[in-house]
Amino acid sequence: MTPVAKMVGANRVIQGRGIVHPLGDASLSAAEEKELRQELVHRALEALETDITSE
């Protein structure tokens, strides 16, 4: 849950696609779902490459 991650002070938070499948979406086709997952992981990697000075 994003609000809890933020509450305890996590520095780099990417919002997933819901509690039941943070890195997927059962309502999408397999190809679309894979694309969604690529996008989320890509954003996670970007966050890891970004310097965080505050928050």
Binding site: M1, Q15, G18, I19, V20
Partner: protein, 422 residues
């Protein structure tokens, strides 16, 4: 809109040749009820039992507890509109109530050790649970062959409601012992202008548990995609809202007898406040849904209901907890004073583990504890359950945790447990 509850006290419940209410004695024709419920072909059989207050009995895993009620024909909607009855607004007209009794339904898909709750009739838990003082007609549905999960639960839901209405029907045409009238139509009267306007925002499901397509929660809707919805207080009391299949510390009985709604109505009648209405909402699985529903629930309390104070409750566990905190924060941001009720999250009994929000403005918290409360138990004489595995687990119980007993750590406001910080 005014609801009159015609109250018929039940002091004894037993099986007999005919289903009828005679004085305080409710008799049930076991076979007739069985046949009624077996009209649903997804059920192979239903086992019907009776358990009474103080009896050495354990029932579970509990699917739901319902108070037997029936609408007086021709007044308002039918029973459980949108599920049993046609679509019509609940909460108007006259409803017969068999006070002191309950229909308690065992979950046919219950799994031992998976966090389900039991009905306890004896010992400490029997005394502390609000259900311990009731006479229960217990239904154990037996599924016909390979029934899918959604169908099994749907059949169980319908059996629960039909049995409730069937028993409630015995009161139609009888004189009630007392009447309770809930009429909030005096909201605009001049002598109320100075009173605080209080609304209630209540979650009715948490979508980290995915609902079934045919699950009945709000007037038969499964609440998928639901936006916050204003409801009249009496709609809750009269069959408009049911617990979801994920029934963590919530039972339909305490929608029908909603402690918070009744408390607000009583304070309204005592002219301590104006009870301006309720908003039914859901906790989200997805963050964007959480932000949206939190915002809109707050907005409706303020602009649709005109509240300046709001009571909030959650439905279920951790995600709903964070959701409710967010909703309360949104309320405070637009000037509404809030009070929230949370359940016990602190497995280690530390205050730092207790809350899933840290909004400083959400500073009026009722904390229903329970993680410290348990009772040593002697083996019970009667176990009513859906299978041998659960019966075995129930027979081996030596200690009962408060959170494992229906009613004790209830999230609808009936719990008397509170936490103190030492």
């Amino acid at each position: 809109m005014a609801l009159t509850l015609s109250v018929h006290p039940v002091t004894e419940l037993k099986f007999a040749d005919a289903t009828k209410l005679d004085g305080g004695v409710l008799t049930v024709d076991r076979e007739a009820l069985r046949q009624l419920l077996l009209e649903d072909r997804r059920l192979d059989d239903v086992i019907l039992e009776i358990v009474n207050p103080g009896e050495s009995a354990r029932v579970g895993i509990v699917f739901d507890v319902i108070e037997p009620r029936a609408k007086e024909p021709g007044t308002g909607a039918g029973d459980f509109p949108g599920v049993l009855g046609p679509y019509q607004i609940a909460g108007d007209g006259e409803t017969h109530v068999l006070r002191g009794s309950a229909v308690t339904v065992v979950d046919p898909l219950g799994i031992p050790g998976a966090g389900g709750k039991s009905l306890e009739m004896s010992g400490g838990p029997g005394q502390e649970s609000p259900y311990g003082v009731l006479h229960h007609l217990v239904i154990v549905p037996k599924l016909a062959g390979e029934v899918e999960r959604h169908a099994a639960l749907n059949a169980t839901r319908l059996a629960s409601l039909k049995a409730s209405a069937y028993l409630g029907g015995t009161a139609i045409g009888q004189h009630s012992a007392s009447e309770e009238v809930f009429d909030l139509s005096d909201l605009d009267s001049a002598d109320r202008k100075e009173l605080p306007n209080v609304a209630y925002i209540a979650q009715i499901h948490g979508h980290q548990r995915v609902v079934e397509a045919d699950e009945h929660i709000l007037y038969g809707s499964n609440t998928e995609g639901m936006m916050p919805t204003p409801l009249g207080p009496t709609e809750w009391l009269d069959g408009g809202v049911l617990t979801s299949y994920w029934n963590m510390q919530v039972e339909t009985y305490f929608y029908q007898n909603h402690p918070i709604i009744l408390e607000l109505i009583h304070r309204h009648q005592a002219k301590e406040l104006n009870f301006v209405g309720t908003v039914a909402t859901v906790a989200a699985s997805d963050e964007v849904d959480r932000d949206r529903t939190s915002m809109m629930a707050a907005q409706q309390a303020k602009w649709a209901l005109g509240a300046n104070g709001v009571v909030l409750t959650k439905y279920g566990g951790g995600a709903p907890h964070a959701d409710m905190g967010k909703t309360a924060q949104q309320c405070e941001a637009i000037g509404l004073k809030t009070t929230v009720q949370v359940s016990d999250m602190a497995g280690d009994r530390r205050a730092e583990s207790a809350l899933l929000f840290d909004h400083v403005e959400v500073d009026a918290i009722v904390y229903v504890g329970g993680n410290d409360v348990s009772w040593p138990m002697n083996p019970v004489e009667r176990i009513i359950s859906s299978n041998d595995q659960i019966a075995g687990a129930f027979a081996a119980v030596e200690t009962v945790q408060a959170s494992a007993v229906a009613g004790v750590t209830n999230q609808q406001g009936i719990s008397r447990i509170r936490v103190n910080v030492y």
